[in-house]
Symmetry: C2
């Protein structure tokens, strides 16, 4: 995937309530799949959890541009995720990043 200066690239760092982790992961997965499938401007969402601390979630996010991101956070699937996970997320840190190199099969 090519990246350029219009793109918004971000690393979201979350900490989830361990007691609600399974429910959270299901909601996150649904939101990721819907966003990339339905929104032309959501280029990539890759979510992982730390093996030794699975309540720590990291999401590498790429949006085509600012407009695509603003549209994304108003979609029904994002608002569903945001509402239903509000009581599950203990901490959320959004880190703006610059792409260095993206390569994948």
């Amino acid at each position: 995937m090519k990246t350029n200066s219009d793109k918004i690239v971000r690393m979201a760092e979350l900490e989830i309530d361990p007691a609600q982790l399974e429910a959270y992961l299901a909601l996150l997965t649904e939101e990721i799949e819907a966003s990339v499938a339905k929104e032309p401007g959501v280029m990539m969402l890759h979510a992982v959890s730390v093996k030794d601390a699975p309540e720590k979630v990291r999401i590498l996010e790429v949006y085509a541009n600012r407009q695509a991101y603003e549209a994304h956070i108003q979609t029904p699937h994002f608002l569903k995720y945001k509402t239903l996970t509000a009581g599950m997320v203990r901490a959320l840190n959004l880190v703006d990043v610059d792409p260095i190199a993206f390569a994948a099969k």
Copy 2:
């Protein structure tokens, strides 16, 4: 990209000497492009730097399996990167992660 339990997924967290950052980024980019192009078992390498602290680099890495990873770290392009950047990298933390959901255009 599908992920499964054979795959090795990792987040590398690096801190680079700011005075050598430009040279480091060129070497990292070369290594990433060579690895994904030449090695069937290197599935994905996505590298970013923190916008407010560009010496902080994060790389999301996916290898097909343990054997692919072990082969990767013996390749000439990886050894070149590792040798030439040894004096540039102030800290390296390799975090094993589990994939939750990977979606991209």
